[in-house]
Amino acid sequence: MNPPTFDSVQVGDALPPLQPPPVDRTTLALFAGASGDHNPIHIDIDVARRAGMPDVFAQGMLGMAWLGRLLTAWAPQSRLRRFDARFQGITHLGNAMRCSGTVVEKLEQAGERCVRIELLSANQFGQTKIVGEALVALP
């Protein structure tokens, strides 16, 4: 796929979606180590239960990192200007996330031609977990 250009991209275009494997404990443990988020609620079921949760659950930043992969697979990271996420629900073990993005606006910002992208991460039951937005400068 050729990298997108400002002229080739239209409002309404969808980015190629990203579907990581269902969340499992190994992924949460690896992400805890790699991200530096050692909060045991994500990796130790005893701590999660004491906190009133049925089991461990995904770090919010894991879901945001997957949305980041969606963006950088579409356009080089050097073109990413802004990336915002709102965490709307807990991502549980077994959740198979579908990360998607849609171009919603073409605009000029700080002298650069940019596109604004709406981002969504939802599980296999259609439950939204993260909504977000990105600004990408395009040649």
């Binding site: 494997p21 530096g36 988020d37 915002d84």
Partner: protein, 146 residues
């Protein structure tokens, strides 16, 4: 209730040396397969001096340093009540392996909703590199649910 006296509080600076092996581990953890993030030759072909830190990686700075944990202790937010509400990044210059990034955060707001059932803490940060260049700005909203 979280004491609003913390509005304006500056966290100690968090210094994060960006290392190739850590970036490769991070790529593995998030399932990133683009060689730009794991193979130095591919990164250089893409115009980076070394492996680039992925967009959300700098969030690690205040976790590694302990600044995030200290903040939760200061604000008396137990992890059982903690949620990550929002996260934002504005990007300026790339951060790559070999760079040392320093993150300096300030508590910019504290407010509550639903008669105090949910409390929100807004933290804004500037990340600069060893040349004093602005790498990124970060905005974090943490939520304490009662």
């Amino acid at each position: 209730m979280i004491d609003k006296k913390w509005i304006g509080h500056e966290l100690p600076a968090s210094v994060l040396p960006i290392e190739r092996s850590r970036l490769q581990f991070f790529a593995k953890a998030i399932g990133e397969t683009d060689p730009v993030y794991t193979d130095v030759a591919a990164a250089r072909d893409a115009g980076y001096p070394d492996l680039p830190a992925p967009p959300t990686f700098l969030f690690a700075a205040e976790l590694d340093s302990g600044a995030s944990e200290q903040l939760l202790a200061d604000l008396q937010i137990p992890i059982a009540k903690l949620l990550h509400g929002e996260q934002g990044f504005s990007f300026h210059v790339a951060a790559c392996a070999g760079d040392t990034v320093t993150v300096r955060s300030t508590i910019s707001d504290i407010y509550d909703k639903k008669n105090g059932a949910l409390e929100f803490v807004v933290k804004t940060a500037r990340a600069t590199n060893q040349h004093g260049e602005l790498v990124a700005e970060l905005r974090t909203v943490i939520v304490c649910r009662h």
